[in-house]
Symmetry: C2
Subunit: 232 residues, 2 copies
DNA sequence: AAATTGACGTGACCGGAGTCACAAAACGGC
DNA sequence: GCCGTTTTGTGACTCCGGTCACGTCAATTT
């Protein structure tokens, strides 16, 4: 499906661009809807495009030799992924999979790269984004270092809330990731995540609110457990 | 200690720069020698400099809340780290520690950033480097997904060889990381790494050769185990 | 409405890596 | 060479998260 410059301008990365640049990009952009579990970007392939998420949620996923899934990051609406293609010609390192029904805008790599090189501002933003990704991966990797497993899950939950809406002492996550999706982010089994969630629910720290809404009622306690102040 | 433009030009990143750019950078560069275990870059601090490794080996290291070390990456001579400072103003996310006696060249962030912005080539190289780091972190994270632990160690060893010298069917690692340094890269205990090394040595796959030289005699077998073709 | 699917929940069992406690060896400084 | 320090080597024990095997439930499909 075709894309208008207005649609492109709704993404923070592209918003600062002058209108003519957006008009230049629009013909090389494409709106695609994915069902849950569909593959948006494939690992090992020169995709030659950057993926902007309009709605839904994506997850970067790797696979070990023995077929085990490895969760790398989540992508929230307004954000983008596959941006490594803007820096080199190497193939996409990981899969990007829709964890919910999602609509994304693909922008071809070369035109976007040209715009980026010509416009220092965008260049800066993309660079900052990449730096941010490194920071995020570092935090995620550090989470895996925690030997106390409930703590690890609480830490992940806490990160998820910061990405999403967040009030003073409570927060909510709409369309939360499934237990399995969290499990592969943390190198845990799905059952273990379920058990930790049960423990958190019985302590009234988190609560399900209908389908697709997870409410964190006691953010302070969650942080407490995430920081290892007390064992779950 | 002061730094000459010639010294700077010995780093692949800076080599393509015109001589006047190097002369511009040299006054803002500093040569520092570190003893083993010294901290070159500190986490949580705006270091405001990029660290080029001249000789020795560095390791990016994080710490969990409970004080456990987390190994992130190794830096080999000619390479650099702390480059996130070129993209944003946020503090350095992880520690960088000398795993052997090392000499490094610090280049102040701002002058280097200016040179980078003026010289598209350097800009490209730094961008590619950052992209490469994301790829490397992805691979490293995928290693952690392996539930067979000896396999994980073999995979790491294999990666280390690729970074270093490598012949047809054997390779050597000079000043190899200690077992503990490998252990924190893989979320394992030091003892477990030792035991896997013992198993590999008894099978004549690896061999110590004097101090500071590890020889991989049978690279094919190592890869075999790394890929899970057989259990150790 | 029945059937299928996938997510979630839960118990029992087991293996294997962490931990602890040493000993031995290698290294580095003097 | 000598001595303190670090690294490596090794056994025994413990424990806890993975695995397996279910059951339940809600959403979608047919």
């Amino acid at each position: 499906m075709q894309v208008t410059p207005e649609l492109l301008s709704r993404f923070p990365l592209l918003k600062p661009l002058p209108h003519e640049a957006l008009e230049q990009l629009a013909p090389h952009a494409e709106l695609v809807r994915y069902a849950r579990r569909a593959v948006a970007l494939e690992a090992g392939v020169r995709e030659g495009k950057v993926c902007f998420l309009f709605e839904g949620r994506l997850q970067g996923v790797g696979f070990t030799i023995d077929g085990r899934e490895v969760g790398l990051y989540f992508v929230e609406p307004g954000d983008f992924c596959g941006e490594l293609a803007l820096f080199d010609d190497n193939p996409q390192p990981e899969f990007v999979i829709a964890t919910t029904a999602a609509s994304v805008v693909f922008v071809a790599r070369n035109p976007l790269r040209e715009v980026m090189l010509r416009n220092g501002l965008v260049s800066n933003i993309v660079g900052r984004k990449l730096a941010e990704r490194v920071r995020q991966m570092t935090v995620q990797r550090t989470l895996l270092g925690l030997s106390n497993i409930p703590q690890r899950v609480c830490g992940q939950l806490y990160l998820l809330i910061n990405e999403a809406r967040r009030k003073d002492d409570s927060g909510e996550i709409v369309n939360p990731p499934t237990h399995k999706e969290i499990a592969i982010m943390l190198n845990l089994s799905r059952e273990t995540v379920t058990r930790v969630f049960q423990a958190l629910q019985s302590r009234r720290i988190i609560r399900r609110d209908g389908p697709g809404r997870l409410i964190v009622a006691d953010l302070a306690s969650l942080r407490h457990f995430a920081e290892g102040g007390e064992e779950l």
